[in-house]
């Protein structure tokens, strides 16, 4: 009647299976490749800053938010909501390192033309454009013509600041939502996106970014802060698919469980769970009968 004297078996089977699972898991082929100008560590970010990320309005951010080398993220989970993860050093360091590399890569691009400084009314095909400083760099509609190329790239090299006026818009023509992140805005100072602006592309600013509008793309500040001041500001990593305002993702989502596009298939179906319960009961009965002898 002393159950504690019974031999304690280890779990060799479990360990073996964990080992096999780990072997399978870590032997999966890597598909990591550099994507465009952004390194792989930068892709998941919607917002990355050097010192502080602050959200003062009831905004929705889709994608990761990070700060490095600083560590201050203010305004989450309220009043802002983030569909992603919040990262500070050391986790955010690789992203900031990739931002530094991307900044250098874009800065090395040779301009095909100098445009603006007010880009309103222009329709631009893919290319590299230099834009000089002005009181506003966008006072109306800028159209980016993707020419049907899903990999179209526009590089805007702002010699100083990037400033938009209230209600201005960057739109994509002859392309889709995925083209939004094909626009790279290299800002040698600070970027200010005014209220009511619908902006597209990745903003890579040397110092600060102030957002008071909707962005489909990324707000990436090397040395300074990212401040989001307007309610309903929505940041979305293009890869995440959710557009301004948190629209449904425009990519196929294959449900791995109930409610998915492939139908109601949970980890184990209802019949499977019933069979499993019966199997466990039968094994339990057998064990009890054997031990009763």
């Amino acid at each position: 009647m002393n159950p504690q004297t019974a031999p304690i078996r280890k779990y060799p089977g479990l360990l073996a299976r964990f080992g096999l699972a780990a072997l399978f898991f870590f032997s999966l082929p890597s598909t990591a490749l550099a994507q465009g100008y952004l390194g792989g560590n930068l892709i998941p970010y919607a917002v990355l800053a050097g010192t502080t990320v602050t959200c003062a309005g009831a905004g929705l951010i889709t994608g990761d938010i990070g700060v490095s080398p600083g560590a201050a993220i203010v305004g989450f989970p309220a009043p802002c909501t983030d569909i992603g993860v919040l990262l500070i050093p050391p986790a955010a360091n690789p992203g900031q390192a990739d931002l530094l590399i991307a900044f250098g890569t874009l800065a090395a691009q040779v301009c095909d033309a100098t445009v603006g400084p007010d880009l309103a009314g222009l329709t631009l095909v893919p290319g590299t454009y230099c834009v000089n400083a002005a009181a506003t760099n966008l006072s109306g509609l800028l159209q980016l013509n993707a020419q049907g190329n899903p990999n179209a790239v526009w590089v805007f090299k702002m010699t100083s600041t990037l400033i938009t006026s209230v209600g201005s818009t960057v739109s994509i023509i002859n392309g889709g939502p995925a083209n939004s992140c094909g626009a790279q805005w290299l800002v040698n100072s600070s970027a200010t996106i005014a209220g009511g602006t619908t902006f597209r592309g990745n903003i890579l600013a040397l110092t600060d970014i102030t957002m008071d509008g909707n962005l489909t793309g990324r707000a990436l500040a090397r040395n300074g802060q990212v401040t989001m001041v307007a309610p309903n500001a929505s940041f979305a990593a293009c890869g995440a698919g959710a557009g301004a305002g948190g629209a449904p993702p425009p990519f196929p989502v294959f449900g791995a469980g109930f409610g998915g596009a492939l139908g109601p298939t949970p980890t184990v179906s209802e019949w499977g769970m019933l069979i499993l319960a019966v199997l466990l009961a039968i094994v339990g009965f057998a064990a009890m009968r054997r031990r009763a002898r």
Binding site: I8, A32, Q35, F254, T267, V268
Partner: protein
């Protein structure tokens, strides 16, 4: 009759605990406090592990997406391994065994189920990018069988680790 009493008790307790846990899981408080947070945590854990060898993956809520191919899977309630774990927990609570063994068994069982479920999600994520047909087959058949087998093996091993006379004793005496 005396030998069958523990079996009857096991059966009754198993069913009662099973129904209770499933009913509790379906309540809004359990859904908001346990099921949904765990589902999102599962996606983040999976993404964290994947990024060890593939950085082009993002987790957005319950959605895991490849930023290179655009393929995404949504891990829904029911896909998080909780229901399967409930069956195992109910069986271990119902089976006459010392509480120490029950606690250890439940913890190890939870780890085994969830670890395999993470592997399942990762494999489906990559299978789907390779072939939707392979994704569906693995999703509907292969992984259901493997998860069930996983639980059954944990259950068998747990029973073998019990003291030799554990199953022959009235559980209330423990």
């Amino acid at each position: 009759m005396g030998a069958q009493a523990p079996m009857l008790r096991f059966s009754v307790v198993f069913v009662v605990v099973l129904v209770t846990l499933f009913a509790a899981e379906l309540t809004p408080p359990a859904q908001s406090a346990v099921v949904l947070p765990w589902t999102e945590a599962l996606v983040r854990i999976t993404r964290g592990l994947i990024t060890l060898f593939d950085s082009r993956v993002i987790a957005v809520g319950k959605i895991l997406q490849s930023t290179s191919s655009g393929f995404a899977i949504s891990v829904e309630a029911g896909c998080n391994g909780i229901e399967v774990a409930i069956i195992l927990i109910a069986a271990m609570l119902a089976f006459p065994a010392p509480w120490k063994h029950r606690v250890i068994g439940i913890l190890v069982g939870l780890c085994a189920v969830q670890a395999l479920n993470v592997v399942r999600v990762v494999s489906l994520f990559y299978l789907g990018q390779w072939s939707i047909e392979a994704f569906e087959w693995a999703h509907l058949y292969l992984w259901q069988a493997l998860i069930m087998l996983d639980v059954l093996i944990v259950w068998l091993i747990w029973i073998r680790t019990l003291p030799p006379n554990a199953g022959a004793q009235p559980a209330m005496a423990r």
